[in-house]
């Protein structure tokens, strides 16, 4: 009975072949995406719900451009949930979660002048919140809005400095 509950060598081999085949199919269909991600280039992500003219879209920026932008006065804006921001965020970032933008926008506008260059981020490639927030901020009159699509995960994985909110 116990022999019946354990997989045979043939079954193990077939399982390996199955995984190998599925991975090969997945990679052949998505090779461009995987290559871009591993080469550190930007994967352009646009929310499917947005059908606005191109000039309304924030511009994507790569990791390599960040230091120059920060040196010239750009500010990070964290579009993730407030508790994620409190745990850890990029240096100097201001929290503006997409889900709370209506409640926080007034205070944000008072704190951040419209001519400020903004670099929005969230949970990395595939996370649409920073892009959607960028469209909203452009509509509110901010003109220099960029999206760092590698976001928090890429910054963290490159070993860069992070900040946390001091807990009382």
């Amino acid at each position: 009975m116990s022999d019946r509950l354990l997989p045979s060598r043939r079954v193990l081999l077939e399982a390996l072949v199955l995984v190998f085949f599925a991975v090969a199919v997945g990679l052949s269909l998505n090779y461009a995406l995987v290559l871009r991600a591993f080469s550190g280039r930007t994967v352009v992500v646009k929310s499917a719900s947005l059908n606005q003219p191109a000039q309304q879209f924030p511009q994507p920026v790569d990791y390599e451009e960040l230091d120059d932008l920060l040196a010239t006065g750009s500010r990070f804006i964290d579009a993730r949930d407030a508790h994620l921001y409190a745990d850890s965020h990029l240096p100097g970032a201001i929290s503006l979660p997409l889900g709370e933008v209506d409640q926080r926008l007034e205070a944000f506008s008072a704190q951040v002048p419209r001519e400020t260059s903004l670099i929005l981020y969230c949970n990395g490639f595939g996370c649409p919140d920073s892009f959607d927030l960028g469209v909203r901020l452009i509509a509110e009159g901010y003109r220099q809005v960029k999206v760092y699509e590698g976001g928090f995960p890429e910054w963290r994985d490159r070993g860069r400095q992070l900040e946390t909110v001091e807990k009382r």
């Binding site: 509950l5 193990l12 399982a15 072949v17 997945g26 995406l33 991600a37 591993f38 490639f125 595939g126």
Partner: protein
């Protein structure tokens, strides 16, 4: 009874994994974002997972649906489900309340499944996987026990 349990669980698993694989496979970028939110893998590897995992789920689901190569498909799904449960457990442990991304990558905030609920659901799927394994016919092509 064994025969019906076997077919019921097999078809349930086939439906679940074909559905999950299809939704994730058609939007790998959004799925990569969900994988990244787990904060487990180095960032580019989230894409590797997003590009390949849905096809593993799809293939296993199709094999279960066709009642072909059921054992290897179950073995792979057992491994995948165990990995999912570990990842979900790590979310609960770290207090990260993100959408699990199990079925609908890029779901609206608040409409996804919490890690704890997803953990319970995966435990149910694990039970179904083990049921199909235990109740499977003695040999491929052999008539089932009545």
């Amino acid at each position: 009874m064994k025969k019906w349990s076997y077919h019921l669980c097999r078809l349930l698993l086939a439906g679940v994994f074909i559905y999950a694989g299809f939704l994730k496979g058609r939007d790998p970028v959004a799925f990569a974002g969900q994988v990244a939110a787990y904060q487990i893998l180095p960032y580019a590897f989230n894409y590797l997972v997003a590009a390949t995992l849905p096809f593993i789920e799809l293939l296993c689901g199709v094999l279960l649906l066709l009642n072909r190569r059921v054992q290897p498909a179950l073995l792979v799904l057992f491994g995948l489900n165990a990995a999912f449960m570990l990842a979900l457990f790590s979310l609960v442990w770290r207090g990260l309340d993100i959408d699990c991304g199990c079925f609908h990558p890029g779901a609206e905030e608040g409409t996804g499944t919490s890690p704890l609920m997803a953990l319970f659901r995966d435990a149910g799927l694990m039970l179904a996987i083990l049921s199909v394994w235990v109740f499977r016919p003695k040999q491929a092509g052999e008539p089932l026990d009545e």
